[in-house]
Symmetry: C2
Subunit: 499 residues, 2 copies
């Protein structure tokens, strides 16, 4: 028989979820539909709903319900126990940050964002430095308040990747440094592949139609979602039965649309696969940003940039663009879409150099938080590391340490989850290939439904039932291991670049 207190907790938490998801609708509408000069009213509505959701969550009502359930924990069913435990953990974290702290941080973020905009405009990091200094200061304070066992950075990382630690990241990135830096450098010495076919004129409407087509083919359910346009593609969830994606169409670059559709589609497949009956609860939510990113990158790279996927889909693409792609065969297509070329800009990076971008940011933010690096030294350290890892000379702050919005938003500990995503993706995909002997054959015929089913069964259906590393171990028999990504990279790019 259902526990009454648990039912009251669920009702309370789902009410908060309604507020949070209403806020998500306000954000989505802001990015997709907002009239040119309507931002002021929308910002205050978002701020109000954010504040109300936060207040409701850190309320004595939440505290008392959780306390009562903790006192009678043994009476709960397994799924209920997990929800209560995780809500307790989330509550404890929020509870350590009182309202005065939250407001102070919120003000610093607002100031940091504006300083960053100004610095970007002037291409001058020193204009951002004082605000960033203050943000680093409050993030250090946050780490102390939240608490940690090994390193203050862990307290910040925990917000995005619960349970992960910098000691584990250090091991991963040591591997990246040891193996990937040399491999990428070797590729840079090889003859470059030709991707000019991607940069012809591809009409907007045809691109749009192909994007919808490919989303549907990988299993995105348009009964419970839709695709719109926005300057920066994103996925957003109002509940697992209303998960929306956006894309961007550049008529002179087919790649933007295709892989943003598949990437966001991967995120959306995860969200659509979460159990609707656990709406708003931990068991209805994604494990971590790293696991979320593993889903988008698995579809984008392991599937969407594989030769086998395009064995059938290139013909489909040619139906949309017969003239542009008439002379392009599978082999040059596959090579062109996997061109490796170092860029100073993270979001323009190929999937190998990408991890150096993340490593630079990780090393810098960890040093900032432990106090071994001062904010004013960021540009010189940044540029030095780009030279070391990517062989690039950074010519200006806008091309360097001012390029990302994350730090200005107070998000320190976020960047590593991008790399974790790729590494988890490689490990999961390797396991899927083992578990599904027919997978390659199915994918060659354009059918990815068995892969989706595998992801649903092994990952999506559980929500936050398992921690990221436990989930990984459960599925693949071992915790996250960089070797899977390296094997994937060596096989694929060794083939493409003849290494």
């Amino acid at each position: 028989m259902a526990n009454k207190t648990y039912e009251r907790l669920v009702e309370h938490i789902q009410k908060i979820a309604d507020l949070q998801h209403a806020t998500a609708v306000l954000h989505w509408d802001k990015e997709v539909n907002l009239p040119p000069r309507s931002v002021e009213g929308r910002s205050r509505q978002i701020a109000t709903l954010d504040g109300m959701a936060h207040q409701l969550f850190v309320s004595s009502k939440t505290r008392n319900l959780l306390k009562e359930l903790a006192d009678n924990f043994a009476q709960l069913e397994e799924a209920e126990k997990r929800n209560v435990s995780l809500l307790h953990r989330d509550f404890e974290r929020s509870d350590k940050l009182d309202e005065a702290f939250v407001m102070r941080k919120s003000r610093l973020i607002s100031e940091g964002y504006h300083a960053w905009l100004q610095a970007r405009k002037e291409n001058d990091f020193t204009l951002f430095a004082p605000a960033l200094e203050a943000l680093v200061g409050i993030k250090k304070e946050e780490a102390e308040r939240v608490g940690y066992q090994e390193h203050p950075y862990d307290a910040l990382l925990d917000e995005f990747e619960p349970g992960y630690r910098s000691s584990k990241l250090d091991i991963l990135f040591a591997d990246v440094r040891k193996q990937l830096v040399d491999f990428a450098a070797a590729i840079r010495d090889k003859e470059q592949v030709d991707d000019r076919f991607l940069h012809q004129h591809y009409p907007d409407q045809k691109q749009w139609d192909f994007g919808l087509d490919i989303l549907q083919r990988i299993g995105y359910d348009f009964d419970y979602g839709r695709q719109d346009r926005s300057p920066h593609p994103f996925t957003i969830t109002f509940n697992s039965r209303d998960v929306r994606v956006t894309t961007i169409v550049d008529e002179d670059n087919l790649a933007n649309m295709i892989w943003s559709c598949i990437h966001e589609g991967g995120h959306a497949l995860y969200e659509q696969g979460l159990p609707f009956e656990q709406y708003g609860l931990p068991l209805g939510s994604a494990v971590s940003l790293g696991i979320h990113e593993s889903q988008s990158r698995l579809w984008e790279n392991n599937v969407g940039r594989s030769r086998i996927f395009w064995e059938s889909h290139l013909d489909l693409l040619k139906e949309y663009f017969p003239q542009q792609l008439e002379a392009v065969d599978l082999d040059p297509f596959f090579k062109g879409i996997n061109k490796v070329f170092p860029s100073p800009i993270r979001i323009e990076s190929d999937e190998l150099h990408y991890h150096f971008h993340i490593m630079v940011r990780y090393e810098i933010e960890k040093a900032l938080i432990e106090g071994s690096l001062s904010v004013e030294d960021i540009p010189s350290v940044w540029n030095e590391k780009y030279k070391d890892y990517l062989g690039l000379d950074i010519e200006s702050d806008n091309q360097g340490c001012l390029q990302d919005i994350h730090w200005a938003h107070g998000s320190i500990g976020y960047f590593p989850t991008y790399s974790l995503g790729s590494f988890y993706a490689a490990q999961f995909f390797a396991q899927a290939e083992k578990d599904l002997p027919q997978l390659n054959q199915q994918m060659a015929s354009g059918d990815t439904s068995a892969l989706l089913k595998w992801l649903r069964e092994n990952i999506h259906q559980y929500g936050r039932k398992y921690e990221a590393d436990d989930l990984c171990e459960r599925i693949t028999g071992e915790p996250l291991n960089f070797q899977y990504f390296m094997d994937y990279a060596k096989k694929k790019y060794g083939d493409i670049y003849g290494l």
Copy 2:
């Protein structure tokens, strides 16, 4: 110096407004964007936010702030006094309906809606009758709780048209019966005008583009709004700087798009003209549904179906549809768009017969509330009145008393505001013509900006500063008077039908 308590009230009320307008975004998105099967999650989000806004408004916080301000009323500035008084009035009304009553009503409405859908499906009023009986019962109870001076119907009317009374409606509709019934009958005896040019093939995209064009020309500001598509056109406000309209395009009927755009545009011009600095407060809100409808109908009918408006705009329309309208001159165009033809369906009605539809509903709902008519007798009374006023035989319940959703939604006292809107519109427009000697000349050249300025200055800028009838008297020197509508109708339709 600003009053601290007043500032706290404003902050509190605007926070509630943020919730209400977030709910409006959820509704808008539901009508315009919702994926086919996402309604369940959306409905619960709307219900949660609705409930929270209601609870916050009827809270002891509102009561205490209003009490404190009432005790120090003399210290407030004029605008503050008006906001406080109206909030007090709104609060009192809500306060008389306790939570148990609101939930009971909400359940009856939900049941009523489903019974109505079923009855519509079976084309059988008796399937709706028991639910309607219950709804009428709770509306009677609501009237008793809210209180009234003359007639219980007034307590219900007050929700939509504050301060109006059925005794005033009786006078208006007596005039309608006395003058308009015979006039419409006389038109029906005349030779019919030709509107076949409206029912050619008009391509969707061209219609869409013309709709945007005409909205812009009448002054709708796309910096603070947008138009989308929805099955039933509507206007919705997120704040006066984000006011959105929707329209419907029927490729075989040009009229739907044109006059829904102008009608919703009229509503939107009102909302965009409300003072942004009074966001969420009475002085930033519309006076009443009747005054709101006066704005939409003034633009739709007094402007948008006038000969003078089309003197310049017909050429514009012909630029969009040169083939379809090549042979249509201004005179037949003007006649065709003003065809008078009785229909059993209210929303398909011309602007004369329309008021008989409203009169039937008003007479029936007033009789239901005072207890002089029982629900089971509605169909026979309905059909009898349609014969009397419109000369029509009603062939089925779906063509008769089941056609509107309003009663199923528990909205009794709503219908009369449609007629009030038309009558106010005629009276306002007559005054604008007096105040603006150049108006006809300007409109003939396609320029309606002076009219909009007049509406902004006389109506929009004030929000709820004046009650509807006070506003009318202030502008036109007398309270609402049906004669203005009748004069307008006689002049226009006398001309068209040679009477």
